[in-house]
Each structure stands twice: as structure tokens, then as C-alpha cells.
Amino acid sequence: MPTPPLLALHGVCKRFGVVEVLSDIELEIRAGQVLALLGDNGAGKSTLVKAISGVTPADKGVIEWEGRAVHIRRPNDARELGIATVYQDLALCGNLDVVGNLFLGREIRRHGFLDEVEMEHRTRHLLQRLTRGIPDLRAPVVSLSSGQRQTVAIARSLLGNPRVILLDEPTAALGFEQTAEVLDLVDELRDRGLGVLLISHNMGDVKALADRAAVLRLGRNNGFFDVNTASQEQIISSITGATENAPRRPAHREAEW
């Protein structure tokens, strides 16, 4: 029997009010692989990430962790399973400094009090691995550049030794050099056996990094590809809807767009 994927989604649905943003989503994240999640703006990629990370739990459907059905109702549930997320909006606390953000909710204590020295030490260590331009660790995060903030958010997700990491457009705000740093990191995480979900609009990065790609269109699966064999045109036409691999949606849903 083949080993089950680290994380599998079956029939996941999510609606906000009357709008069904995700319907019947299937997805598998495997250890040691990078899965690219592709789709136009508004396709539901971020909503799917938030459903997996417990921020806005799914309404319906099954989430399996190593083949076993689990309930993810709160961010803490996902965290305890070993799922870490870098949100599109980063979700950092602007007034806390870099160290405070990294360790928020899992502070290191010494004699019952926060051990700032140890936390700063580990932060420095971690950031040195990730980037060459380490920000001022004691400056509030609002005063950092957007690239530095992105690095902080990524560093935070790595802190608890996660097994699955969800990256929602981690390179969108980055310059050339920092983008390369993030892509190297994704490569390294894959080599260490983590399951990575990478959302990106850059087909070049996807081709270079991802093992498989899943396409969302209007909240539905619209194709799965083996990135090594599928052509870029095939993938793009599936994103834009030139090829419909999923059943057509009912007419009244179409009208809402």
C-alpha cells in the first residue's frame, strides 16, 4: 500500500453568505514535494489556505492528515498538526518587534518570565539562514520594508519545525535577490522532506520549483499537472479557463461574477 499523502483534502466547500467560494476541492500535499497552487485572482487560493490553516474553517469536506481524518477548527489545530502558514497579508503584529512576532504564542520562558536573550539569539540564527539583509530585530515590524516583513513572516512559519508549509504568494512583494532567497529556501525545505504548498503567479518559478501543480478556477479544481511533463501553455489555458477540466458551474453562479 502506498504511503498516504501528508495532507489530503476531499470535497472541501466554503461559502461566505450566499457566495460559494470553494466547492468540492480535492488536493494532496506530499512529503518532500512542492505543490504549486495556481489560479486567477479571486479563484479562491487564499481562502483554501485559510481553510487548511484553521483561520476560516471549511464548511464541508474531509481533511486527512497522513490518511487519518482530522478536524481543523482553529489556527491552533493546524499548528499542532504541524502545518505552518505564511499568509498573503502576512498577519504580523505591526507594533511588536521581529523577535516578538516570531515567538508570538510560543514564547520561551526562563523562571516564568520571557527569555528575550534566548529568543533573540534563535531569531538571529534563523534569519541568518534565510537572508543576507537581517533587519533590526528590536524595531517594530511596521517600520521594516515589505521585503523584510516577508522574511519575518517566513521565518516565523519555520520556527515550530512544521511538516507542511503553506506559502501564499511569498514572493509577490520581493525584489530579484530576495525572491531567489525564498525560492532557494523552498528547495531546501523540500529536500528536508517537508510538504510545501506554493501559491505563485510566476510560471517560471513554478516550472523551476514545483513537482506538481493544481489549478483552481472560480472556486473549483480545474486540473492537476505534473510540472515536468505538462507544457506551460496547457497549465496557463487551464488557469484562464480556455480548457474546462471541471464540470461547468450552474448558470446562476456564473451571473454573480
Binding site: V55, P75, G94, L104, E107, F113, A139, P140, S145
Partner: protein, 403 residues
């Protein structure tokens, strides 16, 4: 010799860099309010040279305690970016609970004190929970609280009108007892400065051991030195009058203790985290409802404690307890002291600095026979300046981030 000069220059340059960074990042901290306080003191001293007399300063140090304790609670709420308008009513309610239990019903003073403080904790927690669950802004929830608790207080007092407290009792002694032995005030100054030195030194030692940036010994020395000089000067003045007031000692202990809670514990870190919005904290798995409830419970508790100190100062409780400018002064103190209205920035020491400014103005006005109208206008002006500085520093911080 040359080496010494060089290291002095480097230290000064280091301070310059830090100062510029703080200025551009909008973290001026307590500097503006310390300047305001200096100006207020200089102006009143030149108008009337009794202002900086040991007697007046000693009285000032006791007068700040009641409202100051309430302002400490307000700092907690401001850290969430919210406001608590019920603290005046809660302080009056606590005083009334104490008076009715102890004076009218003969309950022992210690028990009446505990019940009165708990009344503040419970009312605060109720408001906090409602705020957390309904997501109605705290100022609205506590506005309802302001009316409710004030009504409850009038109900409890019933027809008693003014209740006079036992002049020699435990509560009265809170603000009338002085440690006449000179050693008390000097001891407190020494212990305070010593602790600050030890903590900074220990921090430096651990950082150095793992090769992280750390403060120079000189910087630690200067910091502790400034603190020690201030503390010993205050102790000297207090000893020239009646010694260290018990109320001031308790106030400083509470402020220092809560400062440690806010800045050095897991709980405090959660309070700061909520200051930049609920969503980021929630995604970091914080229990938002619990933290919000606890914060309003703290401000209710501090309001009750402050109300008891205010009652102690005048040894009576009446239907006017907790009314008037008390609420406004407590909020103004926190803001003038440097706690941000936008949440996430401030410490309990801000409340101390702010109430010192407000009470100094009040005391100076009284000493120079200036009408209350002028006092309000000046305090209002200082408050406005504080709010403008707060908002400017916030904007400069954000502009910094966009660069």
C-alpha cells in the same frame, strides 16, 4: 587616555544613532512628557517658590496615587486600542461597597477591602467579556457600564448620603501613614536603582556570552546613575517632610509589578499583540476573548483600588465619589504620559509621568491661586499636544515602513 576619549566618542555617537532612529521611527517614548514636566515645575517654582518645597512635593506624591492607579488600568485598555469609560463609576462603586460594608454593617476592614476590590474585578470582567463576545467597541460597552455602576453605587449608598470613614482605620492609614525613618526612602531608592542595574547587567552578561549585541557597561552605568540620582533626590526631599508615604510606596510597587507583567510575561506579550489588531493575534493562536476579558478586569480592579485610595485621602464616601473630572484625568494621564491611543504602545510608567504632569498643574494652580478654569484649559492644551505627538509618531513609523 586616547583610548578612553575614543570610547566616549563612540558611546555618544551610538546614542546619537539610536536617538535618530527612534525619532524617525516615531519612538520618542517618554522624552516629551519629561520635558513638559520640567517646564511645569520650573514655571510654577518661579511663580511661587513653595512649589518645589518638600511639603508640597510630598503632598503631590500622595495626591497622584488614587488617580494614578486608575490611569495604570487605563494603560492596559489603551494597549488594546480601546477605552474604558467606566473606571470613574467603578472607583465610586468600590468605595461605596467598602463604606457600606465596613461603616454601616460592621464588616472587618480587611474583608470589606477585599470585597470592594473584587467588585471592581468582577464588573471589569463582565464588561470585558461582553466587549469580546459582542465586538461592540469597548468605549460603548463601558459607557453603558458608567451608567450602570453609577446607578448601582447610588442604590448601595441608599439614603446614607455621605459616609465618614474611621480616621484611624486601615483604609485611612493607606494615605496618612509615613515611614518616618529616613532609611525607608533611601532604602527604596537604593533597592530600585540596584535592581535596575542588576537586571541590565545580567542581560548584558548573557548577551555577551552568546556573542549578541549588548549595552556597554558605560551605558548601563549612566542609565542607572540617572535613575539613582533622581530616586535619591526624591528620597531626600520626602525625608525633609515626613518621610516615605506608604501610598507612594504601594503605588510604585504596583506600577513596577504590572510593568514586569506587561513586558516580561506571556500574558503581557498577548496584550501588546492585540494592540495591532485582533486578526494577527488570532492567527497566532492567541485566545483573544480571554485576553480582552482579562484586560478589562485589570482596569476594573485598578479603578476599584484607585477609588479606595481616593476615599482614604478624604476619609469619606459620598454620592459624588468617582464622579467629576476623575475619569477624564485618568485617561488624560495615560495619554499625556505617552501611551498611544492607537494601541500597542505604552507602559505603566506612562501613567505615572502623566498623572505627575496633571497633578503638578493642579497643585501649582492651587498654590498660585489660579482659577480652576485656567487649570482645565492648560491641562487640555497638554493633552492635545500629547495626542498630536502620538499621532505624528504613528504616522512617521508607518512612513518609515513604506520606504
Amino acid at each position: 587616555m586616547v583610548k578612553g576619549t575614543q570610547s566616549v566618542i563612540r558611546t555618544v555617537e551610538g546614542w546619537g544613532t539610536v536617538f535618530r532612529r527612534k525619532l524617525s521611527a516615531g519612538e520618542l517614548g517618554s522624552l516629551p512628557v519629561v520635558l513638559v514636566l520640567a517646564v511645569v515645575w520650573i514655571v510654577f517654582q518661579s511663580l511661587n517658590n513653595n512649589f518645589l518645597s518638600p511639603r508640597n512635593l510630598s503632598n503631590l506624591s500622595v495626591d497622584i496615587v488614587g488617580t494614578g492607579l486608575i490611569a495604570v488600568g487605563i494603560v492596559f485598555v489603551l494597549l488594546l486600542g480601546e477605552l474604558d469609560l467606566s473606571v470613574g463609576s467603578i472607583s465610586g462603586l468600590a468605595a461605596a461597597v467598602f463604606a457600606v460594608l465596613n461603616v454601616n454593617n460592621g464588616v472587618p476592614e480587611w474583608l470589606a477591602l477585599v470585597v470592594a476590590v473584587l467588585a471592581g474585578t468582577v464588573t471589569g470582567a463582565v464588561q470585558g467579556f461582553s466587549f469580546a463576545k459582542t465586538r461592540v467597541p469597548a468605549f460603548v460597552v463601558t459607557l453603558a457600564g458608567l451608567l450602570t455602576w453609577n446607578g448601582l453605587m447610588l442604590y448601595i449608598l441608599g439614603t446614607s448620603g455621605t459616609v465618614n470613614l474611621d480616621e484611624g482605620g486601615l483604609l485611612a492609614r493607606l494615605t496618612s501613614y509615613y515611614f518616618t525613618n529616613d532609611f525607608a526612602a533611601y532604602g527604596l531608592a537604593a533597592v530600585g536603582a540596584g535592581l535596575v542595574f542588576l537586571v541590565s547587567y545580567q542581560d548584558r552578561r548573557r548577551r555577551k556570552a552568546v556573542g549578541m549585541p549588548h549595552r556597554s557597561l558605560r551605558a548601563i552605568g549612566v542609565r542607572t546613575g540617572v535613575l539613582a540620582v533622581t530616586a535619591f533626590a526624591a528620597a531626600y526631599l520626602l525625608n525633609r517632610f515626613q518621610g516615605l508615604p506608604l501610598a507612594l510606596l504601594l503605588f510604585l510597587l504596583v506600577v513596577a509589578g504590572l510593568d514586569v507583567v506587561l513586558r516580561r510575561t506571556h500574558y503581557g506579550r498577548q496584550v501588546y499583540a492585540l494592540g495591532s489588531g485582533v486578526e494577527a493575534a488570532r492567527r497566532a493562536s492567541l485566545n483573544v476573548t480571554r485576553v480582552q476579558t482579562a484586560v478589562l478586569a485589570v482596569s476594573g480592579t485598578m479603578a476599584a483600588v484607585g477609588g479606595l485610595f481616593l476615599a482614604s485621602r478624604i476619609t469619606s464616601v459620598s454620592q459624588n465619589s468617582g464622579s467629576g473630572v476623575l475619569l477624564l484625568n485618568a485617561i488624560a494621564a495615560a495619554v499625556i504620559g505617552g501611551a498611544s491611543l492607537f494601541g500597542g504602545r505604552g507602559t505603566t510608567w506612562n501613567a505615572v509621568l502623566g498623572i505627575l504632569v496633571i497633578q503638578s498643574i493642579a497643585s501649582g494652580m492651587a498654590i498660585t491661586d489660579t482659577p480652576a478654569a485656567v487649570q482645565f484649559i492648560i491641562t487640555g492644551g497638554v493633552l492635545f499636544a500629547a495626542v498630536v505627538i502620538d499621532s505624528l509618531s504613528r504616522r512617521s513609523q508607518e512612513a518609515h515602513g513604506r520606504a
